[in-house]
Symmetry: C2
Subunit: 308 residues, 2 copies
């Protein structure tokens, strides 16, 4: 499948729910037995932390592989541990691809010209060796991108949009202060986030797949249903990556505004709400992997009911 929007649409249909699991490792929240195991092998080192991250991720993936088709590792939690962290990020993406999953590399990169070209090469393309031969580094399906710098920052990524890769550009983010800039009204009556949406629409025009969606998607927080409804109307052919569910407070009914009629066109992410589900009073006593599975099943049900 050469259009990655078609791929994510197909993957959601295959698994029966528009759900994405965010792999945001907080080592301090890892199960005690996992911590003890890596510390006994590697001591109190960076290596212990990154091995724990990998084992934790593999545990989450295996516990949810039959009920989720889309995963979103967040690079900040990995790169804070330097090169070993970066390597585990790479291994995590490889494990996800080996399991047949769609991978959204949540890196929110944003730069211009040759720098954006290098980011695109590293995240969804290939880097060049001295002979001119090429090597993949992360090789994600999608990468998240910040569009504040305009087309110059997007073009090097969107060049891959008809080669089976895609991006999600930040439109309206889920955080409390997102409105400080994004909600301001322009002279033309549009808000900044809607102006960004117009740019996203134009960037995506050339890469619309059979599903009707473009490989150039948008990040739209589910914590702002009113703004999400405006964006949904403005961008019918744009696939939405929807953060904010679960730990950030949103519920199934809140996500409706992010979907097109028929419950299409978006994937909802939850990270902490699934990974650390064992901390919920109702799930205590379970194995941590079973708790994560249970939380994923609940999320699927919650969202699918809301979209009916």
């Amino acid at each position: 499948m050469n259009n990655v929007a078609d791929l994510i649409v197909a993957k959601i249909a295959e698994f029966g729910a528009p759900v994405c699991i965010g792999l945001d490792p907080f080592p301090e929240l890892f199960p005690d037995e996992l911590k003890a195991s890596v510390v006994s092998r590697y001591g109190d080192t960076v290596q212990a932390v990154v091995e724990a991250i990998y084992e934790f991720n593999v545990g989450i993936i295996s516990a949810t592989a039959d009920i989720c088709g889309v995963y979103k590792p967040q690079i900040a939690f990995y790169e804070q541990y330097g090169a070993p962290g970066y390597e585990v990020y790479q291994r995590t993406i490889r494990a996800l691809h080996d399991a047949g999953k769609v991978v959204i590399d949540d890196s929110k990169r944003g730069d211009i010209g040759s720098t954006a070209t290098a980011y695109a090469a590293g995240h969804i393309g290939k880097a060049t060796l001295f002979s001119g031969s090429m090597v993949s580094c992360l090789d994600a399906d999608f990468v998240t991108v910040n569009g504040y710098l305009g087309s110059d920052g997007i073009k090097p990524f969107s060049d891959f949009a008809n080669q089976g890769k895609g991006i999600f550009v930040l439109a309206k983010t889920s955080n409390p202060s997102s409105g400080e800039l994004q909600d301001l009204k322009l002279e033309n009556g549009r808000s900044v986030f809607l102006q960004m949406a117009e740019l996203i629409r134009s960037w995506g025009e050339g890469s619309i797949g059979d599903s009707g969606y473009s490989s150039i998607g948008a990040v739209v927080g589910t914590t702002w249903p009113e703004e999400a409804a405006i964006l949904r109307k403005a961008l019918p052919g744009c696939f939405f990556l929807v953060p904010g569910y679960g730990a950030q407070g949103a519920k199934g009914t809140d996500v409706r505004a992010c979907f097109n009629p028929g419950g299409q066109g978006a994937v909802v992410n939850s990270s902490r709400g699934i990974l650390y589900a064992l901390r919920r009073p109702a799930l205590q006593g379970m194995h941590w992997k079973d708790a994560a599975r249970e939380a994923t099943l609940e999320m699927r049900k919650d969202i699918n009911s809301a979209l009916k």
Copy 2:
């Protein structure tokens, strides 16, 4: 010195010019003898590329160490080579610190809440091991940050602003398409970039050093002198990181608008114009390090004359 704005001001005074050398490695532009040397040792591998990057950087630093106090490695060019690239980025920052330089980690990170906290930990702070002990990863003096997400994305970084670290937030970027979003006028009559400047000013209020500048600086492209003049007037106590000189087309006279009266308050970056100076017809035949030094001396003279 606990305020990093004071540090950069002092470093510029010590070296006699507000000049920053950008370490943007383009392996294909490296000198042939360097390529041949690493390929003979490591073959046509990622290892050959990253070793060449390190040797190239060390060569540039040693050739310019007595005439430049501020360096800005750009992470995109390193991370495209995965974990080995990340490790060389880290080694480059260490080499710069060993040489007594101010390091601006040009990563343009931008995210929210716990994710921004992890970025801040990795780039200017410390990450946590299982025992609670802390390890530095990049430990840069400054990191560049994208403010599209508002205060939530800045706070985790600015928490380090009174601990000897700082950030440069994108205000008006140097690229041709920067105006697509940044130049739009808001209902209040301000442009988006000026609104961002107001946020930057407010974020920096609590961390103004003896120099009169805050640890929360701004990125202001010198390719837009009119907009730079507006920003300079709006943000007298904000230190500017100024890209766009040299390869991007700007000359000394263009940078004036980025400085306060007296030629203070900004540092001008050049990357390709210095690193690959050997490619200029006038400098051909020199050793590549001497050519880089010559280009740095020219840039110092050009900017210092313009600021007189």
